[in-house]
């Protein structure tokens, strides 16, 4: 019997070596440059997927790296650096999102701008020939209401556990699950029309 393979989500790739991080903690600016070059696209993309706006994503990325520079000394080597980095970026993007949701007027028309930024190539094929084009998936994600988008992005793209997702969003685990499930259903409805059924 088939199972959806979303439990636990994808493991983050380790983006930089422990040696590079060690050099950064000693204030080595060349090492910092190397670290930023190796990671900034992933961080920017994460922020863009959560916030759905390139300008806000740039600001969140800068705030993320400011926090990383200030707190690198507190990074414990027993965890993956990329996991820690994603966590800082997610926190920053969510804080920004909370501030921004007070200005809801800007929400309209965000999807197209995001789509222009993310490569529209490739597809993922699953059982029974069901296929999801990357471009359509990014489009559908960008069109999701923000509260569902951030939940699905963090859970199903970046692999956060439900407990961690709930903590990041400041809601109960039950509420976090509901957001993920509703987001998945909306995405599925957007991607697979009635004609496919």
């Amino acid at each position: 019997m088939k199972r959806l393979k979303t439990t636990g989500g994808p493991a983050p790739r380790e983006l930089v070596s422990p040696d590079l991080i060690e050099r950064c903690t000693r204030g080595d600016e060349a090492a910092w440059r190397e670290l930023v070059e190796a990671t900034h696209r992933d961080v920017y993309t994460l922020c863009l997927r959560i916030l759905g706006d390139p300008h806000d994503a740039s600001e969140a990325t800068q705030d993320t790296y400011l926090k990383v520079w200030r707190n690198l000394g507190g990074f414990r080597g027993d965890a993956m650096f990329s996991t820690w980095l994603y966590r800082v970026a997610t926190n920053t993007a969510i804080s920004k999102h909370r501030g921004r949701s007070r200005r809801r007027a800007r929400e309209a028309g965000v999807g197209e701008e995001v789509m222009e930024q993310i490569p529209a190539t490739g597809s993922v094929e699953a059982a029974a020939g069901a296929k999801v084009e990357v471009a359509r998936l990014e489009d559908a994600l960008a069109a999701l209401p923000p509260m569902y988008r951030e939940a699905v992005v963090m859970r199903d793209v970046y692999g956060l556990g439900v407990d961690e997702l709930a903590a990041q969003l400041g809601i109960s685990e039950t509420a976090a699950k509901v957001r993920v499930h509703r987001g998945r259903k909306k995405l599925k409805d957007m991607l697979f029309s009635e004609d496919d059924e």
Partner: protein, 116 residues
């Protein structure tokens, strides 16, 4: 279980450790619901794959990020300089305020004399 009940459960299906016996039985004989599972599976695979797809950040962003340590250093140096020379800066400010006050007083007196 009816198809509608099953379809409401499917968004959570991948998070469960095991599908219930009832659900498995239904899926074994319902091609519609199995097709729905396939769609969710394709969606889950697509979302997982996105982690390796990145957007191109604005050109200026990389430079701004690389400059963070030196900017912070400059800010910290400026802050330390001001703290070290606090008394001199405060003295300068007090002097400037005294000069401005005297000038204002002198101007007011001059206007009063001219009016008289």
């Amino acid at each position: 279980m009816k198809c509608q009940e099953i379809k409401e459960m499917l968004p959570a299906y991948g998070d469960e450790q095991r599908a219930t016996l009832e659900l498995r039985r239904h899926l074994s004989r319902c091609s519609d619901c199995r097709a729905e599972v396939d769609r969710y599976e394709a969606l889950a695979g697509g979302l997982r794959a996105l982690v390796s797809t990145t957007a191109e950040p604005p050109a200026r962003l990389l430079g701004a990020l690389i400059a963070i340590p030196s900017q912070r250093t400059r800010i910290e140096e400026a802050r330390a300089h001001v703290l070290r020379h606090r008394s001199r800066y405060l003295g300068g400010l007090a002097g400037a305020a005294a000069v401005a006050g005297t000038a204002a007083l002198w101007r007011t007196r001059s206007r009063r004399l001219a009016a008289a």
